[in-house]
Symmetry: C2
Subunit: 339 residues, 2 copies
């Protein structure tokens, strides 16, 4: 973050016609946007686009969810048809939905709006071996970097993370356990709402995966290759790409939190571009946000993913930036300051 623009931001906020500090967290976000863009006031982050990366997970075979694997592909078609929650929320807040196939198992039809970037047909079962090769992990990251570059080149001034992948909260929990050091039982959640039996199995699977691979947090590409997901890797790339373009990126839920931990291990500066859109009901997400030092803007028990939580936060981030542009100073408005 640029120190000069940060200083200007705090100085300007003091002169705006409102009590000092009265916008709370929004003043922190505004200052971050100034520091990131090196401008005060900062660009208003619109238009914005949510990148929804879809991938499948070999660990689905271990019975960690009650949803069939084909739902990943079916939901991708639902996104393209505009019938999912991410579409409704994006429509409401004026964001574009960009759907990227980075690793769905089946073949998806060529259809407008779908960006075909399949690195492989789903990951391998991480209870049996590595999820993917290091080369595949790097290629999935590159898909995310390219997505960020393309969306920013198209004029977007904010990016949002989204994902779809049946069983991906299992992978997110494993990644978060690696980067927070927390016990798998603490960071594994019920995802889409599994019953007690499946939940116990899910925790055991995460424990087994960590024991088998002993992932080294200092080798983030190795961690992704061993236990990651293709959509997680793509989100890592999106964050790296957005940060390198000084474009703010709003994180969605637990999978985005896991990706942010990995991205930070690659390049700590990435966090300067990150805003935590919401806190999901998944326990691992709280652990991830705490480790990242990010405070979520929305906290309404959402646990859907797709980018829905990030989309609800978008107007908050835009409002914070717009206030810097449009709110008069005490002098200009002829408003007396407090004594």
């Amino acid at each position: 973050l640029d120190a000069k623009a940060l200083g200007e931001a705090w100085e300007r906020q003091k002169r705006m016609t409102k009590p000092a500090g009265a916008l709370g967290m929004l003043e922190i976000i505004s200052a971050q946007l100034c520091g990131l863009s090196r401008q005060c006031p900062p660009p208003i982050p619109e238009p914005a686009a949510v990148a929804v990366f879809a991938g499948d997970h070999g660990v689905h075979a271990q019975g960690v969810t009650s949803w069939p694997q084909e739902v990943t592909a079916q939901m991708v078609l639902n996104f393209l048809a505009g019938g999912a929650v991410v579409n409704a929320f994006a429509s409401q807040v004026g964001a574009e939905v960009c759907v990227v196939d980075v690793g769905v198992v089946g073949e998806l039809p060529h259809r407008g709006g779908l960006v075909p970037r399949k690195v492989r047909h789903g990951t391998a079962d991480i209870t049996q071996g590595p999820a993917m090769t290091r080369d595949e992990a790097v290629r999935a990251i590159e898909v995310g970097v390219e997505t960020a570059r393309d969306l920013v080149a198209a004029g977007n001034k904010a990016l949002l993370t989204g994902e779809m992948g049946i069983a991906n909260t299992t992978v997110s929990a494993a990644l978060i356990a690696v980067y927070t050091g927390a016990d798998p039982a603490e960071v594994t959640g019920r995802g889409t709402g599994v019953n007690d039996e499946t939940y116990s199995r899910k925790i055991e699977v995460v424990q087994a995966v960590l024991e088998r691979h002993q992932p080294d947090p200092a080798d983030p590409i190795g961690v992704l290759a061993a236990i990651g997901g293709l959509e997680h890797a793509a989100m890592v790339g999106l964050l790296l790409g957005a940060a390198s373009l000084r474009t703010p990126v709003i994180l969605d839920g637990v999978s985005a939190g896991a990706a942010a931990l990995v991205a930070r291990a690659i390049a700590p500066e990435v966090l300067a571009a990150c805003v935590a859109g919401h806190r999901s009901a998944e326990p691992g997400h709280v652990a991830a946000l705490t480790k990242l030092g990010l405070r979520p803007l929305i906290d309404l028990d959402l646990r859907l993913g797709e980018g829905t939580g990030a989309l609800l936060a978008l107007p908050v981030v835009q409002s914070a930036a717009r206030a810097m542009h449009e709110v008069a100073t005490f002098d200009a408005a002829g408003v007396t300051e407090k004594s």
Copy 2:
């Protein structure tokens, strides 16, 4: 709330392409909107308007704030010029700002956008006597009812509360103490950010006011007349008017919370129309929301008033309603349900 539409809402949410319950608090809001409108899906609450009621307070003479009283009128002019935070946020989320003078001390110029409904030139000092007469309290409530009627007649499908009145957090604290039974020291906050000395005086003033008037919570008009504010009374009317028109109303901060407590004492059904937009940093607001049984949608340490917190919540409420309209069912989208 209409039981049939409520039942339809929960039934429909189960068939939407998302895990059951995955939208958390937004599913509760959607159901409320269905029950309120007697329609499933409910009308999407746009366009929306924030009604900003401005009034002055005789208790300002007791040194409860470090801001001069003329700032109320100056900020009204700032609202009309589009230079306040409420204007920036309203512009971002696509809401109209309606500024109503219900009791500013000075004479305001006739200017486009200002609705002149002055009931009196500020309240009297409530440490010395009643704030206003019962008749004036009723007239201020009527200003709010009429504002709701006019804004809904103009096509608005959601209303938001806003207010401006230097010293009004002192009055809000007194009202909240009456309706929650809490100790004044617990529900009095620092408002715009007063220092320790002023804060102590503010608590003493609230205590003195309650001792002097001994307000009877069962007589809400009497409570408003004794210790209320003109903008509080107008907000009471706005809530009553919105509820009677089955139009949702998003509450802003501590003053709206105080008004909602009074409105509920007049007509308990009013709460069916109320959504708590945010939780402010004022301690009295938490007490009010708890008493009302409302969970705030935004919680970001805002303490500005004007309607700013309610405006940030508007896209959340709109997104909740839009999801009911646009999200496909499992059958329609060809998505397999969980086993």
